[in-house]
């Protein structure tokens, strides 16, 4: 209702643009960059799933040669030595896309993370992300990670450490490539490709270890009388002071919003940082489901 009201108002066009950006990204698994048809990439057509995962998983996850077969539905994919977090990139794959080079402004809008909790829209599955920082990069960056879908059982196995540290190191995690749209309404919102790694049993998660530092990027769209704008602030996961770091990011964002301005969006359902923001994630989900 709030969203409809916002769209219908005098500021309809402007807010519509923001919402368009907002919606087109927190569909979480929908990756706008997949639409890009460039010289090197063509993600549309029957090869899309393979191409997508080949680019994302390739060398970064130790798969120099990605066998097309293993990326099809019902096949197993094993990730080794990864960091798992419940913050998920808003636009997975953006860092590997031509979009980043084509328009950095779009890239900035697309960067950032979201954290969603289980609710009537999500069904029993949870969305996490895995990350494997590239060698010599200054830090792991959640925005460069990839989403995975896990069962309640798997989430429970990880949740204590995720609550405390925000991310956790796992020696090995084995997932089944599956069509996530069959799982829940929430996952129906998925764009292409629909095939994602799904982890059903905690037996498939081996050696949950120490926390390892991984950087997230909290973001907020705000409005003032004059303009709508966008801010982001980074925070650490995988460190003892994770929750303090997240709180600091929230405080910084609040402080950076110009006087008289207010937050339109929030990036976290677990801890609502901007309670008065009209575009809470869940509201957006509901709105989108209604459209569907």
């Amino acid at each position: 209702m709030i969203i409809e009201a916002l769209i219908g108002g005098v500021a309809g066009y402007a807010i519509g643009r923001i919402l368009d950006q907002y919606l087109s990204i927190p569909l979480i698994l929908k990756t706008r960059w997949l639409k890009f048809k460039g010289k090197a990439h063509d993600y549309e057509g029957p090869q899309s799933v393979y191409t997508y995962w080949k680019d994302l998983l390739g060398p970064k996850f130790g798969m120099e040669e990605v066998d097309e077969k293993i990326l099809r539905e019902y096949h197993l994919v094993t990730f080794r030595d990864v960091i798992v977090t419940d913050f998920v990139p808003r636009a997975p794959g953006y860092y590997y896309s031509q979009d980043l080079w084509n328009d950095p402004k779009n890239a900035l809008l697309s960067l950032g993370i979201v954290r969603v909790i289980e609710n009537e829209n999500t069904g029993p599955r949870r969305l996490l992300a895995i990350n494997n920082p590239s060698e010599f990069e200054a830090h792991g960056n959640i925005e460069k990670g990839i989403p995975i879908v896990v069962s309640r059982e798997v989430h429970k196995e990880l949740s204590e450490r995720l609550d405390k540290f925000g991310s956790v190191h796992v020696d090995q995690i084995t997932a089944t490539m599956a069509d996530v749209a069959t799982y829940s309404k929430y996952l129906e919102m998925v764009g292409i490709p629909a095939t994602y790694p799904v982890v059903e049993s905690k037996k498939n998660v081996k050696h949950v270890g120490d926390a390892l530092p991984l950087m997230g990027n909290g973001w907020v769209v705000y409005r003032t009388r004059e303009r709508d704008s966008f801010l982001h602030y980074r925070f650490w996961t995988g460190v003892e002071y994770h929750n303090d770091s997240l709180q600091k990011a929230k405080e910084k964002l609040e402080k950076l919003i110009p006087e008289g301005g207010w937050a339109l969006t929030d990036f976290d359902e677990k801890i609502r940082h901007f309670r008065n923001a009209p575009l809470q994630l869940n509201e957006v989900w509901k709105y989108f489901l209604k459209l569907k």
């Binding site: 402007a14 080079w101 950095p104 402004k105 890239a107 990027n217 704008s229």
Partner: protein, 276 residues
């Protein structure tokens, strides 16, 4: 008419004289002690950092640029007072302190940051020689603005002589921090003259030619248009195609003092949505 910007070599030499001195066991340089408010740093000269997952970090003072967005606080950029806030370390002491931090906190990498590590090459090379002699399992990450490495290819050749470490990985890895996507942005961000912009890319070339492990990094926050992005991409392509693929995008930390500096110099750092 555009004023000529800062000359990193002249300015760097003046800074170098302030932050180094000749000691009994070689060229000494000023370093910042590890902050005592982090319990991990207790009784240590150098700190541990979350960057690169976990690194032992020596904070060297003094730089040949004056980047507006630099995370080094003004206190450590004020060269009139620099000797009062830093401590002189000999190369051997730097190497030992880095190893002590790395060993006790199980780090994989060693790093020299805060200021420009290559500002005094004599000091840096002896630090690396000391580390090499210890046959350590760590990789030393040299974070540089590329000015000196770009001008002096022999320095890259010297780095290549270190080969691999005990773990069979590169002993030294160079990360060239590209200050801005265009020469004009480089001038705005660093106060240096535009003519020095190309040295950053020369540093990448010199490392590649010498067989030194290297990658570029840049702040995504200061790239404002497609054209700027394309300029950066072409500059990296001119060096080598691999540099485009390896480019690491950094993000700005909006600490209060950095925001104040950016606003003071009118550098845009918020990305405005083009609505309506």
């Amino acid at each position: 008419m555009m004023m000529r910007g800062l000359d990193p070599f002249k300015f760097g030499e003046a800074v170098r004289r302030l932050v180094t001195r000749d000691g009994p066991s070689g060229r000494e340089r000023l370093y910042k002690k590890a902050p005592s408010n982090d319990p991990r740093n207790r009784d240590r000269d150098f700190r541990v950092s979350n960057y690169y997952l976990k690194t032992a970090v020596a904070d060297a003072l003094g730089c040949n640029l004056r980047c507006v967005f630099c995370w080094a606080i003004d206190h450590f950029r004020d060269y009139s007072n620099i000797k009062n806030v830093g401590t002189f370390y000999s190369p051997a002491k730097v190497a030992n302190a880095l190893i002590a931090t790395a060993k006790s906190l199980n780090c994989k990498y060693l790093r020299m940051t805060e200021g420009e590590p290559t500002l005094d090459m004599n000091h840096l090379i002896v630090v690396l020689d000391n580390l090499k002699k210890m046959n350590v399992p760590y990789t030393f990450i040299l974070e540089t603005n590329g000015m000196i490495l770009g001008k002096y290819p022999n320095f890259a050749k010297r780095l290549s002589e270190y080969g691999i470490n005990l773990m069979g990985e590169p002993f030294a890895h160079v990360r060239v921090s590209i200050k801005g996507p265009t020469a004009e942005k480089f001038r705005l961000l660093t106060f240096a003259d535009v003519s020095f912009y190309k040295l950053q890319f020369a540093a990448l070339s010199n490392c590649l030619d010498a067989g030194v492990s290297v990658h570029p990094a840049t702040m995504l926050d200061f790239i404002e248009s497609k054209e700027e992005m394309e300029t950066l991409r072409v500059s990296l392509l001119d060096v080598d195609e691999s540099m485009v693929k390896k480019l690491e995008f950094e993000r700005l930390f909006l600490e209060d003092y950095i925001v104040a500096r950016l606003k003071n110099y009118g550098i845009p750092f918020e990305k405005v949505l083009e609505v309506g």
